[in-house]
């Protein structure tokens, strides 16, 4: 299965807490979407992986994700990707996918794979 959780896709800009003053945000609990203070995915035990080949781009996973952590790629090939900075691994996306295109893989294993891939990429550019 292909992993589109990272890669050359659109990322929402984030502003970290240290660049915001309380005056910028503490007037009410309403803030422009997409500006989040910090990542929040530390409790994820399983990570969704979307298979590009069987994904039809129906966008049900995108609509159902309770954290808005599935984004449109706005690119040909696969319609969506999972933002692993904010996905909590609830698996709702897998449950609603009518085409069985989403697999929930062990997070620890996936992290190890990511690290290995990153090290390999660095090695290539060294």
């Amino acid at each position: 299965m292909s992993d589109y959780s990272k890669g050359t896709v659109l990322r929402i800009p984030r502003v970290h807490a240290e660049t915001l003053e309380p005056g910028d945000y503490a007037d009410d609990t309403c803030f422009a979407a997409g500006w989040l203070a910090e990542t929040n995915a530390g409790w994820r035990l399983k990570r969704p992986v979307i298979d590009a080949d069987s994904c039809t781009g129906c966008l049900q996973c995108y609509l159902y994700c309770p954290d808005g952590a599935i984004r449109k790629t706005h690119a040909p090939g696969v319609a969506v990707f999972v933002d692993t900075d904010f996905c909590k691994g609830c698996g709702i996306c897998k449950t609603v996918c009518a085409f069985d295109s989403i697999a929930m893989v062990d997070e620890a294993a996936a992290k190890r794979e990511d690290a290995a891939r990153a090290a390999a990429t660095e090695g290539e550019h060294a």
């Binding site: 807490a17 007037d27 309403c30 422009a32 989040l36």
Partner: protein
């Protein structure tokens, strides 16, 4: 042109809400508020009020629905009382912390057990801490006017805080008086439509009602507090505008009657103030220097205004329709704190009456003034700190 109608407190309040043009009304009935939501439903059915009227399944849902409506940018109204207010209590902080300027009418009614549906002020006074502005009406006219002013106040950009307007159950909600009802044109001149950025918007997507951890939470809470304190000045502005557009004046966060030169002052809330002033007027005619301070807005706590009004007296009584069990009356606590913070040492005494709809007689009010006279004369020990009216055996060891 305004017109005169003979209305109960509840009916007058409903008229005020009609004129305020809420877009969403979430309603759950509870005595003695029921007439408010019934009248509003009739107005909506007749087409006199263009609002989404939701008959919800509970008070918790009523305020939750109002919060949802406010988060969509709608002017929202609900009403409740007593156990209903307590049932929606967890939603009070959502509305306040979310900075949604919802207006809620609360018919002050006793809380159980024993079961009692009559008026006292325990319900709202037990919930002063949850971030809502609280204002107490004395008359049906004031109730109608407060309905309009509450929206204007809460929606002000410097305030952005929900407002609870309290009417004494039965004593005010169900008694009738002649009320001047403004025309829609006058009301519209005073209260413009609700505009806010604190709402969902397809054009400007937002994250509403999010979590804030320890590093951030304190800033929100501090601002909530400071904005509520600042609301006291906005009250003055709103009332000045009300006087300009509708023609009736109100005296600000407190209503002081002959306090300037008074030796003995009774501080109170709500409709009982009229009776207290009647008794005080007779005493004045006899040469007694007495005064009455009616606190209108209890949140924000008008500390400076209380101190200015009563700080120069020789004895002050707080007459209220509640008790914080195991301590004293809540208004007494608030007044004492304001005085103490100002370094003012005027002796104060608490008189708790009207519980569960109990009548407070003119004779009892007279006795309160007489007790103050004793305290002022140096006989402070004769008058206990806290007295329950209409009970011969005060009991206790205090």
């Amino acid at each position: 042109m305004s017109e005169k109608k003979f209305l109960s407190g509840d009916e007058a309040f409903a008229e005020g809400v009609r004129l305020a043009r809420p877009q969403v009304i979430s309603a759950y009935p509870i005595t003695p508020q029921t007439v408010v939501v019934e009248r509003l439903s009739e107005m909506v059915e007749r087409g006199d009020l263009d609002a989404e009227y939701l008959h919800v399944e509970s008070e918790h849902s009523a305020l939750s629905a109002a919060i949802g409506a406010a988060a969509a940018g709608a002017r929202a109204f609900t009403a409740t009382s007593s156990q209903g207010l307590l049932y929606m209590a967890e939603c009070l902080t959502y509305a306040a912390g979310g900075r949604f300027p919802i207006v809620m009418m609360n018919a002050n009614r006793s809380t159980c057990l024993p079961w009692n549906i009559y008026g006292d002020q325990r319900d709202s006074l037990s919930l002063l801490d949850h971030g809502w502005i609280q204002v107490y009406a004395e008359s049906a006219q004031e109730a109608l006017d407060l309905a309009l002013m509450a929206f204007r106040l809460g929606e002000d950009d410097r305030v952005r805080t929900p407002v609870m307007v309290c009417l004494d159950g039965f004593a005010l909600t169900h008694t009738y008086e002649t009320v001047s009802v403004p025309s829609p044109e006058e009301a519209d001149a005073f209260l413009p439509p609700y505009e806010t950025s604190n709402r969902f918007d397809f054009e400007h997507p937002v994250n509403i009602g999010y979590t804030a951890g320890p590093a951030y939470s304190r800033y929100y809470k501090q601002r909530e507090h400071l904005d509520m304190l600042a609301a006291a000045r906005v009250v003055d502005e709103v009332e000045a505008e009300f006087a300009r557009t509708i023609g009736r004046s109100y005296p600000g966060v407190v209503d002081a009657w002959h306090c300037d030169d008074a030796d003995e002052i009774v501080v109170t809330l709500g409709s009982i103030a009229g009776e207290v002033r009647d008794v005080a007027a007779r005493l004045r005619a006899e040469g007694r220097k007495v005064g009455v301070l009616r606190i209108r807005y209890l949140r924000p706590l008008p500390g400076p205004e209380i101190v200015a009004a009563v700080g120069g007296a020789r004895a002050v009584a707080v007459l209220e329709k509640d008790v914080s069990f195991g301590a004293e009356g809540t208004v007494f606590t608030n007044v004492n704190s304001a005085l103490h913070r100002a370094g003012c040492a005027v002796p104060t005494r608490n008189f708790i009456g009207g519980l569960g709809g109990d009548d407070i007689t003119e004779d009892q009010v007279l006795q309160i003034f007489d007790a103050l006279h004793e305290v002022a004369a140096g006989d402070a020990a004769q008058v206990p700190d806290v007295t329950f009216l209409n009970i011969s055996d005060q009991g206790g060891d205090r």
